[in-house]
């Protein structure tokens, strides 16, 4: 199975390309203002179809990439997901002190308000 982008209704917004976990959607390397799915790297995750704002991505069951190629593509997707988790963890670690400080201030404020009542 693979996904294809219908060129006519495609508005080239890049949502599919920037969301694809395996980088299977080409744009600049086509040399034209044209988004194309590289079938070899597609892992049928369906993300591109879900994020497309104009529903111009269709599913084709007639294409079956070689199993070895599919395994490589899945490794890429795992790397992408792992990196995403690492980034979220880094952001979380950076913002935790702020969240805690502000929660502490809010809690103290509510105690003062309670006492004033």
């Amino acid at each position: 199975m693979t996904y294809r982008i219908i060129a006519d209704p495609c508005i080239n917004c890049g949502m599919c390309r920037l969301s694809c976990p395996t980088g299977a959607i080409r744009y600049f390397s086509t040399g034209k203002r044209l988004h194309v799915v590289d079938e070899d790297w597609c892992i049928d995750c369906d993300i591109c179809r879900q994020v497309c704002p104009v529903d111009c991505i269709t599913v084709h069951s007639d294409v079956q990439p070689a199993p070895e190629q599919r395994a490589l593509a899945q490794d890429r997707a795992h790397d992408f997901a792992r990196r995403g988790r690492e980034i979220r963890t880094l952001v979380y670690e950076a913002i935790t002190p702020v969240l805690e400080r502000r929660r502490g201030v809010a809690a103290a404020d509510s105690i003062v308000r309670e006492e004033q009542r």
Partner: protein, 279 residues
Amino acid sequence: MGTLADYLDTNAPRRNPPYRPLATIDAEERERLQDRIGGPDNYASDVLQQMILEDPEDLEYKRALASSIVSAEYAGIDAFGRNVARWEDQPVPDGLIHAMVRQTWDEVRHARLGTELLEHYGGTLGEYPDTLAGSSDAATQTDDERRAMRIRQLNPVVSLSSVNVGVEGAALRLFSGVSRLGERVGDQMMRHVYDYNWADEVVHVSIGDWFLKKIAEDRPETEAMALRAQGMTEAGRVQVRRNVSEQVKLEVREFMEGETDRASSVLVGPLSDGYEPDR
């Protein structure tokens, strides 16, 4: 008497107080950001979204996020409104001028929605810095910024490709993400406001893409110029965007390196490896 575009250019907009791009705020304002959201580095939509997710009841994070988005909407009104006047002297279809008028009106609507959302969270306009460094405010622009902005605004192909398709394409991700965030944290107002904006952005990208297809039809050089403009816009963004796949970053980087080679080759002749520019 010159054109309206010339007249507007000699009367550059001046805000009072002027735009305050995040990159140029003073120490006092940095300290204020430190106190409110943990510092200037956190005044970024992905970080603020995560803060809201962790602490949906704290309105400070929502005020910061709404402020960062609405300041760009106000800059958009000015930029797209000027395109209407500037492009009257350019060889573009009349329909494109009308489309720019509609787009300007959309930005007005977004600014109104964003301002009221900010007030709904207890905030006021201007309490946080502006997010667009390249505002059209002559007082805060560097010479390079002014030159780059003038090229972008005067050339409809560059403007449509870099702003309508490149920047507004990225805004699609921002608005759909923030709208989804509103749904997750039970903030229906946030969900609705950014869903409206998202729908308009789809139209803005469509306008850019449609006119680029029309203008570049049977003109490979124009199409290449459009791709290059979008490549430059994306090159800066994908390098800092955290959740873009390495393959996408690589594709944009390789494209831009190729474009740089092509440009140098045109200027100084073929490179030593025999590379010929694709003219």
